[in-house]
């Protein structure tokens, strides 16, 4: 690497990294006694259960079908008996349909290759790959949980020339992608190759932030054997893991406002997704487990676990030697964009990248002061918006102004609120603005 490291140009912050679990190898978590599988694990329509109460299921068996175009299949992550199909609480406390399975043994579907052999040879063609990815219920593993196969089918008239693999992991604390790159690098690269074949692109770039030099070296070394795959080190800056920011950083292309990355010929996939693609295509294994970081300043043993979907969060915390007495907030995901959990009984879902336990002393917001118009929120906004103006507009109900000032472009990265010296809940009001403006736009279209 010569010269300055690449990064995106507009805004950005650098919160304390706190990657406490960076050196903890991925451990396989024991099976839970009961798995709770919510139907709404992906962005878009929730899935529809196709099993009944009392049914015996095997690991990898399809238990719920996609409920629409933007939706995903769900496979049983455990073997056992379906206890009930009922309302189960999701991360925010809302009760939604879910399947509860009592775990009995660990019996896998025969079609799944459980060996550790690495299968390099890609036998399927592009169409079959997409079909397989769709069938195995893959969604974006970075947290947005957008069904993967949809991204692999560019709309008519649009073609991709670059595949970007997101190994940035710009969220503080989280290390699941980092560990995955160190331990499953080869699989990720084969997964990348598969995605390239499905998209019919020649070039792929894996973007990794410079705070993971071991991963950069490891992946660069491995990538030499794969034609067309390059590793790009990036300067540490949040929110580089945002699709639009990553594309800007790596390729210096700017996705137009309100458009998708395919507009500039790019498709972005997370390293976790690339790994899942490898397993789905080469091993016929559906998305039934993922790496989850359990971390926090007071956690005795910050760890990275390979966890079956549906495992209650409580069991992960137990495995990291228990919930610290001082915990005041449990976050599903990273501290910048994660969701605070209302209870510990909720399960790990496809989009859970980490469980962060915040001590009580750091769980509360600072008291809000008046805005001093310092404009720092404007300087750090990676989308070039004016959060102070948008949040004020949303607060007083002027959604017309919010819409005109592009509130819908907000990626909810939280940089503005992180930076605000007056501790104003800017993002809360930006989200409110997005909700309301979204509704207004939908109404207008009707």
């Amino acid at each position: 690497m010569t010269g300055r490291l690449k990064t995106f140009t507009l805004g950005g912050i650098h919160p304390e990294e706190n990657k406490l679990s960076a050196n903890a190898p991925i451990e396989v978590l024991p099976l839970p006694k009961q798995a709770i599988i919510p139907m709404g694990q992906n962005l878009g329509a929730p899935s529809k259960p196709i099993v009944n109460r009392g049914d015996e299921v095997k690991v990898g068996q399809l238990i719920a079908e996609a409920g629409g175009f933007i939706s995903a299949n769900i496979h049983s992550p455990v073997s056992g008996k379906v206890l009930k199909i009922d309302n189960v609480p999701d991360a925010s406390g809302y009760k939604r349909t879910g399947i509860v399975i009592n775990v009995e043994g660990d019996e896998w579907d025969e079609s799944i290759d459980r060996s550790d052999d690495i299968r390099e040879n890609i036998e399927l063609d592009g169409k079959e790959i997409i079909e397989r990815i769709k069938e195995k219920g893959l969604v974006g593993m970075g947290g947005a949980t957008f069904p993967t196969y949809v991204k692999l089918m560019p709309p008519p008239g649009k073609t991709a020339d670059y595949l970007l693999i997101n190994g940035v992991e710009c969220e503080p604390y989280l290390t699941s992608d980092h560990r995955l790159m160190l331990e499953k690098g080869k699989e990720i690269l084969i997964g990348t190759k598969i995605l390239m074949k499905a998209l019919n692109v020649e070039k792929a770039i894996i973007g990794i932030e410079n705070n993971k030099p071991d991963a950069i070296n490891h992946m660069t070394e491995l990538a030499k054997a794969y034609e067309g795959i390059e590793v790009q080190a990036l300067k540490v800056q949040y929110p580089q893991g945002g699709e639009k920011q990553l594309i800007k950083a790596v390729l210096n292309r700017e996705v137009p406002s309100g458009k998708l990355p395919i507009e500039v010929g790019c498709v972005v996939q997370n390293v976790g997704t690339a790994f899942a693609v490898y397993e789905a295509v080469q091993k016929n294994k559906p998305l039934i487990e993922r790496v989850v970081t359990v971390t926090g300043k007071a956690v005795k043993k910050p760890s990275n676990f390979m966890v079956r979907i549906g495992t209650p969060v409580q069991e992960l915390i137990d495995a990291a030697e228990g919930l610290p007495e001082s915990t005041g907030k449990v976050i599903n995901g990273g501290p910048m964009m994660g969701k605070a959990l209302a209870s510990l009984e909720v399960p790990v879902v496809k989009g859970s990248s980490g469980i962060l336990l915040m001590p009580e002393s750091e769980s509360h917001r600072k008291p809000e002061n008046s805005c001093i118009r310092c404009s720092k929120c404007t300087y750090v906004c990676p989308m070039g918006l004016e959060p102070f103006l948008l949040s004020k507009a949303a607060k007083v109900g002027r959604f017309d102004i919010a819409e005109k000032e592009l509130v819908m472009d907000c990626i909810e990265c939280g940089s503005c609120q992180y930076t605000c010296p007056a501790s104003i809940p800017l993002l809360d009001y930006l989200r409110l603005g997005k909700t309301m403006v979204g509704a207004i736009i939908r109404n207008r279209k009707k």
């Binding site: 609480p89 925010s92 009760k95």
Partner: protein, 322 residues
């Protein structure tokens, strides 16, 4: 010297005259004919510009009434909830039409998940906006249907008629309510409903909108409707229906017989502004607390009287059942 004065006066005067003539012709040329009744109707309206009628402001409503009167000879579907019957009769008189009497309505908060009935299990921090909190989580007490207590309805009210009670963290409607419906719109959980004010401000309604099964509902809130169906059975007037474990009382059919209130096992059905019953077997404990506001309310109600609308205290927290 004199010259200057004369020149100045005549110059300015002449300018004024020319401008007046130009304005006169322009005014004539661009004159738009407007039905004079629009102004009359607008005059009769309360000028609150609240939008409760569904039109943006009183002027727009006046235009709509005049247009409707011209085209259909009726004012069906048009109603000024703020002005109520008096105003609509007045409007009818101006337009020479009969206007049907409408029962006056009032906003009713159908949630009793107070801090005592639905204790907080988690703590919320952030924007004081129900719409935002609704998108973020289910609620401090765990009920995903219940009131979030952040006051979007209070902000929406133009009439100072709805306020948060800091003790219960629930909104309370007072008699200034004009049934404009702004709070109904504002509530992201559809808790507030416009119901008939009822004779002497007496009303009976189910103070719960939880559609969960009995068990889970009761787990989060002591006074949730569990959909047991007892009220449906006891009602002689077909006024109560139960859909997805939730009872609803149709205020058009309800005769205020109060039978359902007695049978409700979770005290989810409220009666307001009724005389206290003769205590049969007083429930231990809670009884005293409930009694106090109830009697107080009664005293206020009884002597005051007439005017079906403007009067009376609305749900001071409590019903009365024993």
């Amino acid at each position: 010297m004199d010259n200057i004065v004369i020149i100045a006066v005549s110059a300015l005067g002449g300018l004024g005259l020319i401008a007046a003539v130009i304005l006169y012709f322009i005014a004539n040329k661009f004159k738009v004919y407007e039905d004079p009744r629009i102004d009359e109707v607008e005059e009769a309206l309360p000028s609150a510009n609240c939008g409760g009628c569904g039109f943006p402001g009183c002027r727009a409503f006046a235009e709509a009434t005049v247009k409707e009167a011209k085209e259909h000879k009726s004012l069906e579907g048009l109603n000024c909830p703020v002005g109520g019957n008096d105003v609509m009769q007045e409007v009818g008189k101006i337009l020479g039409l009969e206007v049907e009497q409408q029962a006056p309505l009032i906003a009713v908060v159908r949630c009793n998940g107070s801090t005592a009935n639905s204790p907080a299990k988690i703590q919320y921090e952030g924007a004081t906006s129900c719409t935002f909190a609704h998108a973020l989580y289910a609620g401090e007490g765990g009920c995903q249907y219940g009131c979030l207590g952040l006051g979007d309805c209070v902000d929406a009210c133009d009439f100072d008629a709805i306020h948060m009670n800091p003790e219960t963290a629930l909104p309370e409607v007072n008699d200034k309510c004009t049934a404009c419906g702004a709070c109904v719109e504002a509530c992201p959980r559809d808790i507030i409903e416009l119901r008939k004010r009822g004779p002497k401000e007496r009303r009976i309604f189910v103070s719960c909108v939880n559609k969960e099964k009995g068990g889970p509902a009761k787990k989060n809130c002591a006074v949730a409707c569990i959909g047991c169906g007892k009220c449906e059975k006891v009602c002689n007037f077909d006024a109560i229906t139960i859909t997805s474990f939730l009872a609803y009382i149709d205020f058009q059919k309800c005769t205020l017989c109060r039978k359902c209130v007695e049978v409700c096992p979770t005290d989810a059905i409220w009666e307001v502004n009724f005389k206290p019953r003769k205590p049969k077997v007083p429930k231990p404990g809670a009884e005293e607390v409930k009694k106090v506001p109830e009697t107080k309310k009664e005293i206020e109600v009884a002597p005051a009287e007439p005017k079906p609308q403007e009067d009376k205290k609305e749900e001071v927290p409590k019903d009365n059942k024993e």
